[in-house]
């Protein structure tokens, strides 16, 4: 066979292999991106549930924790829940505000053993605790997915494809550990 044809075939093979690798890597990165987006919406769902549960708790403890009720009304920027298209930083801020209100209520009701023993209050606390667990699970799942995609984005040769499709590193959802400890409900 003509050496020129051989070189041409080898070159064509190389281009084809690179093309296939590019497509598969791009698809893998897109899939990971979708997983991050899904986990992100999981956080939104959990935050909304937490907001709803906390609204009920604030309503039930209004008479005992007036300050917290006011705080909830004033401080919570998004009184009707979580708006769409929030940045991760804004979501973290939203969570911090909810934590503040929750820990305030926990401290306030310490002085009211009757309220603490009330079945409705206990149920509300239990549901808040469950919602909080879901929020933490959503946060961990999101961070795990972000960690995976970020590793791929910075690792050579995947970083080349990530750069070509303008895929940037994703932001982690940081846990506000101090505040999180405050809202833990003891059993």
């Amino acid at each position: 066979m003509n050496p020129f044809v051989i070189v041409l075939l080898v070159l064509l093979g190389l281009v084809l292999a690179i093309g296939l690798w590019y497509i598969s890597t791009m698809n893998a990165l897109r899939r990971l991106e979708v997983k991050v987006e899904e986990a992100d919406s999981g956080i939104d769902v959990a935050l909304t549930k937490r907001f709803d549960a906390l609204s009920k708790l604030v309503g039930a403890t209004k008479g005992y924790a007036k300050h917290e009720a006011e705080l909830f009304e004033k401080v919570t920027k998004w009184r009707k829940g979580l708006p769409d298209q929030l940045s991760m930083e804004q979501k973290q801020e939203f969570q911090s505000r909810l934590n503040e209100v929750q820990s305030g209520i926990n401290v306030a009701v310490e002085n009211y053993p009757d309220l603490k023993a009330d079945k409705v209050f206990i149920n509300l606390q239990n549901s808040i605790n469950e919602v909080e667990e879901h929020l933490q699970a959503a946060r961990r799942l999101y961070n795990s997915n972000v960690s995976t995609i970020n590793q791929r984005i910075v690792t050579f040769p995947t970083s080349i494809v990530a750069g070509m499709i303008a895929l940037a590193k994703k932001e982690f959802f940081e846990a506000d550990t101090e505040k999180r400890a405050d809202v833990e409900v003891s059993f």
Binding site: G42, A138, R140
Partner: protein, 293 residues
């Protein structure tokens, strides 16, 4: 312990018979091979001695088995009632095979055996457990024909524990690979590299895996794996936690020529350590996992 005495005596008598019968049979064979080949009288004598030996072994073994049955159905039954709240012990039955398959990580068996069924609760957590043995059939084609035999692939204990936490989908945490199933399980990685090295996590819902396996739960699962030799598998499906440990041993077994004393009874009590550890380490005794009345 006075209550043990009758069993110890029966056991001793049965073992004595076997101890006499065994050497007698050996002696008969030796006699036949060494001096009996040319003498019909010696052959008859060896035959009689052999028969006597075998009869003694059979009588001893039957007496031993009978003693074990009585020991389990009376003495152990009572003890388990003390060790486990509302404890029910049925030595001759176990969980059904379809109950074992509920965990969805057990390979399908060609032959199944279950015994030493126990039901009760520890710290208010309901559980069921039993010894199980799963075997697969192998067929070997040789010049002399076809030979079918069974090879055990799981010998250990199976537990079904109440797990009253609402979650979507199913989750499995296993030391080994899982078999294929209809449910679309997928392998996921948790945050802990150490945990991922020990266990493989399979779930139908990523969120459920992260919801049920908290970082603390991961630590405790690793501790359970460290404290209990054998291959461990956990499954969380429909308000139940299934636990299987392939440790090649059988619980609550009385062995011949091994003392049946208080230490042995304590060892039987230790057989509940795994389920106790699981309930305590995974904090299943906390209200969040218990059924709300």
């Amino acid at each position: 312990m006075d209550a043990l005495k009758p069993y110890q005596e029966t056991k001793k008598a049965a073992e004595k018979k076997i101890l006499i019968g065994g050497p007698l049979a050996v002696l008969a064979v030796a006699l036949f091979l060494l001096v009996g080949l040319n003498s019909q009288v010696i052959q008859i004598l060896a035959g009689i001695i052999f028969l006597a030996g075998v009869i003694l072994i059979i009588i001893g073994s039957v007496a031993f088995s009978k003693m074990v049955r009585t020991f389990k159905t009376t003495f152990l039954k009572e003890k388990i009632g003390e060790w486990v709240e509302n404890g029910v012990y049925e030595p001759n039955r176990g969980l059904a095979l379809n109950e074992v398959y509920q965990c969805e990580f057990m390979r399908h068996a060609d032959r199944f055996h279950a015994e030493d069924y126990i039901r009760g609760s520890l710290d208010g957590v309901q559980f069921e457990m039993c010894d199980i043995k799963l075997e697969e059939r192998r067929v070997e084609h040789t010049k002399n024909g076809t030979r079918t035999y069974y090879v055990p692939f799981f010998t250990g204990q199976f537990y079904a524990v109440d797990f009253n936490k609402n979650f979507n989908g199913a989750l499995q945490v296993l030391e080994t690979e899982r078999p294929r199933s209809k449910r679309p399980f997928k392998k996921i990685k948790m945050e802990s590299v150490k945990f991922n090295k020990i266990y493989k996590t399979y779930t139908t819902n990523d969120h459920t895996a992260f919801y049920l396996i908290t970082p603390q739960m991961m630590e405790r699962m690793m501790k359970i794996e460290q404290d209990h030799p054998g291959n461990i598998g956990f499954a969380f499906i429909d308000n139940k936690m299934y636990l299987a440990i392939d440790n090649n041993r059988s619980l609550l077994e009385v062995q011949m020529f091994r003392p049946l004393d208080e230490r042995r009874i304590e060892a039987f009590k230790d057989d509940f350590k795994l389920i106790q550890d699981v309930i305590h380490e995974l904090k299943l005794n906390q209200n969040i996992f218990k059924e709300i009345a």
